[in-house]
């Protein structure tokens, strides 16, 4: 099928790929051997930097550069693989880990060696219990085969790897919250600076990377950074796994090169909406990206063009809504998710998500007025940029964009809600009534 370029997903349906023997038979762990035996860590690091590999978790920061921020020295340094994939619409890491766990382990070990790290963790979300079991087995195999542990392949390198299971909190995907959760605390984001690269896990320098990013590492090491740059665009080389879900015929993970038209992904690869339906709105980068409309389907799918369109590529998860979907309901569903997942540490996010949900509920129940839509918009503006981490913005941006782009639908929803449940306007919609004031004098 046109459009797919399988690098990470190569041999994905090979039976038994998750076992070390199959993985090795297909060329696995050769990159690690090469990295440990033939390249010295500094060179390794610079080749990762040269490759231009950008973080696949959402922010899109250069992975090699991030690793080079870690201070040199003998202090204990940590690597955390962020496998807390909780963004609605994203499921690429699950597939990467469950189908090919050794690719990830190999990437982790190489990255750890390159950055002089001795202790690595995989923070996997608690819901992925099955995947964590697969990963646990793979780590055991890797330990047994000497790819992980005290003296890897007799080269004197040490990398310990622990799979740490989360317990259900979206916020732990935020890198500093992930650190707190890994330290056994409530997963609250920390203030930045200090950045994790300087002072992260247990106060030590910490490199945090996404599963997909680390899974790319063996390929770069094996084939060289120039080879890697042959894929994708100049700014973001390599392939990208795009998760397509929602109102499409073939939801799933598609590994593509960035820059192909979005229409090709949604209609070409994923089959587009069911017969007779049209795309009405789509999230180009998970539920936290501002929505785009059908008019914007022909934009090339890349970091830059999505940013130009006022949205973002994020983790590369496309959610498609067709014309049967009510945007106010979609907005409420989105807001509810962030309201539920807000950690509660900073005020604008905690109260802003909470308030937005209440207002959207009123929109749907018909207790709102069009003026409330202005309040909703203004509340989203008040959240954006004022929070401790990006979770608040993640709600404010899509909800704000929905109100801006589909305001007529919200107004219609208010009307419809009012007709369905008529109630006098002067009656307070809340159950809190002020104490009446008696006649004075």
């Amino acid at each position: 099928m046109a459009g797919q370029t399988r690098m990470l997903f190569r041999h994905v349906d090979e039976p038994g790929l998750a076992s070390i023997d199959t993985y090795r038979r297909l060329g696995g762990y050769r990159a690690l051997e090469k990295a440990l035996r033939d390249i010295d860590p500094d060179e390794l690091l610079s080749s990762l930097e040269d490759s231009g590999l950008r973080g696949r978790g959402g922010a899109g920061f250069s992975m090699g550069k991030k690793a080079s921020f870690l201070p040199r020295g003998d202090m204990e340094k940590f690597l955390c693989c962020n496998a807390d994939e909780s963004e609605p619409g994203a499921f690429k890491d699950r597939e990467l880990m469950s189908k090919n766990p050794h690719q990830l382990i190999e990437g982790i070990v190489i990255a750890a060696v390159a950055a002089g790290i001795g202790q690595a963790f995989v923070f996997i979300r608690g819901e992925y219990w099955e995947v964590a079991d697969i990963l646990d087995r793979a780590v055991e195999e890797a330990y047994a085969a000497g790819y992980v542990g005290e003296n890897i392949l007799d080269t004197g390198h040490r990398v310990e790897l622990v799979v740490h299971r989360g317990a259900g909190a979206y916020i732990c995907g935020e890198e500093t919250a992930l650190l707190d959760a890994l330290e056994g605390k409530r997963g609250n984001p920390r203030l930045k600076p200090p950045f994790p690269a300087i002072q992260g896990l247990y106060g030590g320098p910490t490199l945090i990377n996404n599963v997909e990013t680390l899974s790319n590492v063996p390929h770069i090491v094996k084939n060289g950074s120039d080879w890697f740059k042959g894929f994708g665009t100049e700014q973001s080389p390599g392939t990208k796994v795009v998760s397509v879900s929602g109102c499409v015929q073939r939801p799933g993970n598609y590994e593509i090169e960035l820059g192909i038209p979005s229409r090709e992904i949604i209609y070409g690869l994923a089959g587009g909406p069911p017969e007779g339906h049209e795309v009405k709105a789509w999230f180009p980068g998970g539920s936290s990206a501002p929505v785009l409309t059908a008019d914007e389907l022909d934009l090339p799918y890349s970091f830059e063009s999505m940013a130009d369109a006022g949205s973002m590529l994020g983790s590369g998860s496309i959610i498609v809504a067709d014309e049967n979907v009510s945007i106010p309901h979609l907005a409420l569903r989105t807001a509810r998710f962030y309201h539920h997942e807000s950690c509660g540490k900073c005020t604008p996010c905690r109260e802003g998500t909470n308030w937005t949900v209440k207002m959207l509920e009123r929109v749907i129940s018909g207790e709102a007025t069009p003026m409330d839509l202005d309040v909703i918009s203004s509340v989203q503006d008040n959240i954006i940029g004022n929070c401790l981490c990006v979770l608040g913005d993640s709600m404010a941006m899509p909800v704000g964009s929905m109100v801006a782009k589909f305001r007529h639908e919200f107004e219609a929803a208010i009307e419809a809600g009012r007709d369905a449940a008529p109630r006098p306007l002067d009656e307070s919609p809340t159950d809190v009534k002020p104490v009446p004031v008696g006649a004075a004098g």
Binding site: V435, P436, V437, G438
Partner: protein, 181 residues
Amino acid sequence: MSPEFPYLPDEGVVVVQRGPEPGGVGGAYRAFGETLRGLKTTFARIIEGPVTIQYPEEKTPVYPRFRGRHKLHKFEDTGLEKCVGCSLCAAACPADCIRVVAAENDPDDRVSAGERYAEVYEINLARCIFCGYCEVACPFDAITMGHEYELADYNREDLVFTKEMLLAEPVERTPLRREGE
């Protein structure tokens, strides 16, 4: 410089224009006109009867916004006191004559609506200047200025009005003065 005496005519003498001679209609009007105009008001009031108020048998009427002795209020429906003992009146009082000591409500035996009620509420009327700031400050309209002004007493201590006294229906009602009266 005063002229020498005896002075001569035409020298330093100012000639003054004199009014008309008395007599005639004009003269009569000039003599009684203003007086009659005054009497018109007098006779007009005669038919209204006497204006002397037989105080203390009768009370002096006051304007609606007259600021007399304070009153505390209760909710008509629940009978709870409106005052929650927030002490804002005491803070606003320029004469420092209000003393509030609050206490916690017992939900089983509620005095006011909130958590708090005024256990002690005293106004020292000997110090009060009846400025009405307490009324303005009150967030619950619990205290208002009434129309009672007969507040003299033999003992200063008796001028300290307690909550119970302020809550009680006033015994004496003072007639209201209407606009234009």
